[in-house]
Amino acid sequence: MKDSIISVHYLKKAYGEHIVLDGLNFEVERGSIFALLGENGAGKTTTVRILSTLIQADSGTATIAGYDTHHESDFVKQNISLTGQYASVDELLTGEENLMMMGRLNHLDRKLVKKRTAELLEQFELTKAAKKQVKTYSGGMRRRIDIAISLLASPQVIFLDEPTTGLDPRSRRKMWSMIQQLAKNGVTIFLTTQYLEEADQLADKIAVIDNGRIVEEGTAEELKNMIGDENLELTFADFRAFQHAIKLIHGLVNEKEQRITIRTGSIESLRRLLNTLYEHEIEPSSVNFQKPTLDDVFMDITSRNTKELSANA
């Protein structure tokens, strides 16, 4: 039996006619990094807001550490911390003052606040900037102080809503290693992201959300295998060759560009594919290998999702 710290069942939320969450289901294992991967507007932030007790779902249940996020929100709040999409730090205060203030608001006693502040400044490499006003911080430093604040009360679960959106690549990598460090210390991390790479780097488990539903769930490996490691793009200069090729090979056809995109499976299947073209004397004008992007995962998963829906109807 797995040890779930977050359980979500049939969560629904709509604003008027607009359905944001359409029956969400998932479990997050204690001490793991869980990534909710989806495009803007897929329902990521709404999910985080419900789980962190900020808003109420229309129906369904969500529990954290055994407590219901709606009926037992006070207990939930004692076990979680939220770092929203926009750094919720006070720009006019220094980094240290921000930590001290939030520590007091977390109802920790004065000595503990001091101790935790010093520890966290150290841990997030902000000791040098401790006495500087946050408005002078870089984007990466802001995110770090923001996450440091959420760790003050030593929560069991921390929610990170798009923790690296808008960061430069170097700050992003730094943030990743910090998040990994946190997980090593036993904290459960629930993060949302629109970057496959981020989920890939960090998450033990990824749930892909689209139109308010979890459309796929698994490890990064499992998700990538579903669409193949790489795509092979064949482009044809000659229209007749292109038409012929469409009949011979199965793939995603782009008529305008006269291009066929094929999932690369084994080397054997690749060899057979190229052989087929060779036997029919079809010469592609260019052959390209492409790493699957989030777009591909989405295209693949969501198009399948739509098909299933229409098949069920």
Partner: protein, 257 residues
């Protein structure tokens, strides 16, 4: 060790007030604005227009109450901007996800704003004394002045908390501060209302600023107060209660969004 809700709302309110206090000195522009502008207005009125305005007393004595409430009103209106900032930024969300009463956020803004008001008002009194203001108020009169000004400031602070909660962006919150800059001009703050056109005088005589100013003037330099004291308490007492209730209600509603 569990402490009561009351204990925590006071402690949290105080923590948030300390934050607002720090803001006052970290944002010298807004303190300068809140003090410098009214002082400039006072100096301008006393030395430029004052000579031409007949009030039956030294103009500086006449104008001080008006300058003080202009200053306080403007200072309070700045609260709307900082409240909106907290709402559209992430601070409010974070507080709500923590085990505390998020209303301490409002208490912090009201208290911090009040302390800023007190600083600004003191500076204005001092400058006024320097340029010839001669109050003849006794001890009880001063208590009355302090009481009424506190009522006025607190009621405005809660009003602007409510406005700050309603506004969706810092820019619109900023616009909400303008009426407070101009309302005192359409009252007996700077000129006797009898000198205004009839329709404007009707407004000036009946808006809450006029009884407040008349009462303060009466307490400070001994002009007749009549029923203005009670009117002031009625106006700003009601404003305080209504703003307080409305802030609470809007705050609750925003929590559900």
């Amino acid at each position: 060790m569990r402490k009561s809700n009351l204990y925590w709302s006071i402690t949290d309110g105080w923590t948030m007030s300390q934050r607002s206090l720090k803001h006052i000195f970290r944002e010298p522009e807004s303190l300068l604005m809140a003090i410098g502008l009214p002082v400039a207005i006072m100096v301008m009125f006393v030395y430029i227009f004052g000579g031409a305005i007949q009030t039956g007393t030294d103009y500086v004595n006449y104008v001080v109450p008006g300058v003080i409430i202009t200053c306080a009103g403007f200072g309070s209106s700045l609260i709307a901007i900082s409240v909106t900032q907290d709402m559209v930024g992430g601070l409010f969300e974070r507080l709500r996800s923590m085990p505390l009463l998020p209303s301490s956020l409002m208490i912090g803004h009201v208290t911090g704003g009040f302390i800023r008001n007190v600083i600004a008002t003191t500076v204005i009194f001092l400058v006024a004394l320097l340029i010839g203001f001669q109050p003849n108020a006794g001890f009880l009169d001063w208590l009355g002045v302090i009481g009424l000004l506190s009522l006025f400031m607190l009621s405005l602070n809660w009003l602007f908390v409510a406005i700050g909660l309603i506004m969706k962006s810092v820019e619109t919150a900023n616009a909400a501060t303008f009426p407070m800059l101009f309302l005192p001009y359409i009252s007996s703050a700077f000129v006797p209302t009898e000198t205004m056109p009839v329709w404007l005088q009707a407004f000036a005589d009946n808006q809450p600023m006029t009884p407040l100013i008349e009462t303060l003037r009466g307490l400070l330099i001994g002009t007749p107060i009549d029923n203005n004291g009670w009117l002031t308490i009625f106006w700003f007492g009601s404003l305080l209660i209504i703003s307080f209730i409305i802030s609470g209600a809007i705050f609750k509603r925003r929590k559900k969004e």
